[in-house]
């Protein structure tokens, strides 16, 4: 810290020292942040591709996502309640946190910057179809959009629809079709031709 250190940074530093000094947090916070940083949405892609090839697993993922994640060595325990929402031909889920940036970090890692932006947080609930179109996908007219506002104890991941024409593909190849955006519901997985 020098006299040139910006005020905000000095304040953060002071706050951190106080939190540690008074025992509100300990060094475990650093460890936890490190663990979170090592996590990636690729873990979510593994859960999805397994669900696409294994209907019984898909059912377990939808009824007890935490246990189903554990089966694939994905540790979702840091999330109080982990819920997977299935997109179908009738219903498309799109996840937002209008209050802050709630996100299933233990599974998907850090949210993308836009997820925390005021524009996404306010527009996702007001005009979801327009937001989806800007992300490059227009939901068909008959498809109902369910905007899921994560404002409480539960954290959500989307199980996207399996792409058309992917019937013969292996689980590993299917994993390559899953995108981070499709796990948040702001897009579809890659079409098969792009894989």
């Amino acid at each position: 810290m020098s006299a040139k250190t910006p005020d905000a940074e000095r304040r953060v530093h002071a706050m951190r020292e106080l939190l540690v000094e008074r025992g509100v947090v300990d060094d475990d916070v650093d460890r936890q942040i490190g663990a979170d940083a090592s996590r990636s949405w690729q873990q979510g892609a593994r859960l999805v591709s397994r669900a696409w090839v294994d209907p019984a697993y898909r059912q377990r993922l939808l009824t007890d996502a935490k246990a189903a994640a554990r089966e694939l060595d994905v540790d979702a325990d840091a999330i109080k309640e982990f819920v997977v929402l299935e997109n179908t031909e009738e219903v498309h889920h799109l996840v937002v946190c209008t209050l802050c940036s709630c996100y299933p970090r233990a599974v998907l890692g850090d949210p993308p910057a836009w997820y925390k932006s005021e524009a996404y947080r306010s527009r996702a609930v007001r005009e979801p179809a327009a937001v989806l179109a800007e992300f490059g996908w227009e939901p068909p007219e008959q498809m109902r959009i369910v905007v899921v506002d994560s404002s409480a104890d539960r954290r959500f991941m989307v199980l996207p629809r399996r792409p058309r024409g992917s019937e013969g593909m292996s689980e590993a190849d299917l994993r390559g079709l899953v995108t981070r955006n499709s796990l948040i519901g702001v897009g579809e997985p890659r079409p098969v031709a792009d894989a």
Partner: protein, 114 residues
Amino acid sequence: MASRPEQPARFAVGDHVAVVERPGERRHVRTPRYVQGAVGVVTGVHGPHLDPERLAYGLDGHPPVWLYAVQIPLAQLFPDGACRPGDVLAIDLYEHWLRPADEVGTTRTERVPD
């Protein structure tokens, strides 16, 4: 999840509920302003939870409160026509933020979903 609340769940799946309005609220709450006053339908009962609005102030979160999934038509929340007619919001709300819809003379009740 938490220990059992003293009261059983007040609402069940299918119940029409109105979200309490607290326009002057300055404390941290978990019910966004844009759903306050809206009317929706309970789609899930998620059991008793420690009250996050008490936890936020260093309290122990007791007594636990029931948590519900509630769906509200987006057109009711934002009547300016930007959303499509069938689109809905799904949001988790704590019991102290909900009232039976028929007890509340809200101006939005005419748009209660079926």
